[in-house]
Amino acid sequence: MQQATLWHGDGGRGPIVDPIDATLELGAYEALWTDHAATFKSLADRFARNPGIRPSALVPEEEARRIAARVLEKLRGRIEKRFDVRVHGEYEYPERLRDATHPVELLYFQGDWSLTATRCIAVVGRRKPTPEGISRARQLVRDLVKDKFTVVSGLAEGIDTVAHTATLEARGRTIAVMGTPIGHVYPKQNAELQDVIARNHLLISQVPIERYDSQDYHDNRLFFPERNKTMAALTEATVIVEAGETSGTLVQAREALKQRRKLFILNSCFERTDLKWPKKFERNGAIRVRDYGDIRRELVG
């Protein structure tokens, strides 16, 4: 077993047991990502091997402080409003995030974190939806909002965007779990939507700021499916509106089932004879949705 180097193992001086310094953890988290071999899997494995430790235990304090100062300066230059992080072990970090295949030690966010304490349902789907898919997503979201669920999605083009905007139109609550860092507008056409969610709802990202800045689009694409694992963990159920056979949405479908969350698939997906995934997931426990009542029965009773 690889032995971790513990830099701050004694919890520091003073009468408090091992307090969490979020600024230090932010710097340490970013520092861990400067290793180019680092992935969410490699980091999650490292923390799994050393239960109870935090990023700061694996990075010299001076380095973590230096990087934290640099990242905070960058983010304050990019983000007008306040932002914060959640660190594994603190009171407001939801334990259910540990159900993810690669649980994250730190998340950046903007907006109202208390939305994570509401009943959250993910609505996801392809980036190039059909007009019928858009219409179904809108109706689904209206129904979920009526039942007071918080609608969670990934702020991507297509179904994600429809899920967020339809929630806002229905005066519901929404959470965006981005595959890009906070302070970075993506996709560009969602700039206003992203801003509204960050101000009045909740925007979450696990993507490290400096690593993202240092990579090109090709490498940064790998962050997208990772956020789906976190989104599955954050929510009690995922609803797939539309997805292709190789869609990133299916990462979330697999995760939802693996994490024993409910997975709903709209019936229209089953009617596509060219798609194999709907039946495969149904065999593994996914629920086919012919109308909203099929969701409501499972979640509301």
């Binding site: 047991v17 307090p19 310094d21 979020a22 905070l72 603190e90 974190w113 208390s114």
Partner: protein, 222 residues
Amino acid sequence: MATSDESWSAKLRTIGDLDRPDHWHLTADDVCYFFGEYTAGAGYAHSRTNSIIKNLKKNPSLRNTVQWQHKQTTIRDCGAAIAANIKQDHLPQVAFVPIPPSKCQGNPGYDDRVTQIARAISPKADVREIIYSTTDRDAMHAGQVRRDPNALRSILSIRHNLINNHPTYAVLLDDMLTTGCKFTVCKAMLTKVWPNTSIVGIFIARRAIPKLRGVVDLDLDF
């Protein structure tokens, strides 16, 4: 009860460079810790932290009602949570000093919930109500309600009979950290009487207050 779950075993979080701008009276020399984050506004009953704060702030007029039992349970939970975050071998060297409530002792609305939390930390905890209010804060002149630290200092006083036996550490205790004004004023008062004591703050929750147009509204007892 929102407080009786596994997450209440959480670690205290330090106010650092990231979150200090939310509490703009604090400087890098101020060491403050908190558990949860309070969200202002109606309709946030879903937040566990909000439930804790709501229970803690139940008005003394509700004494002898079921509501009061929720308050007492939450006080005990808060005390236990703090106890779990204090190094046991350091406990004899720590004095817990409640930040005084907004009403004076003797006022029917006087609420010593923070003192009760301190006493719930441990029967051995050294709890000293050294600082007290000499004037009800909401009875102040409207212009003074938007207080500056000097105005706040002018209505607080020290019980000098309680300052003997200088502790190594003093924990200023309160349920809510907002701007940090009360903490910095109380810390300055304690520093005068205990010059060699290391003073930190522990708060059940923090609440980020936007700094608006230079308005200084320092006592948001909501």
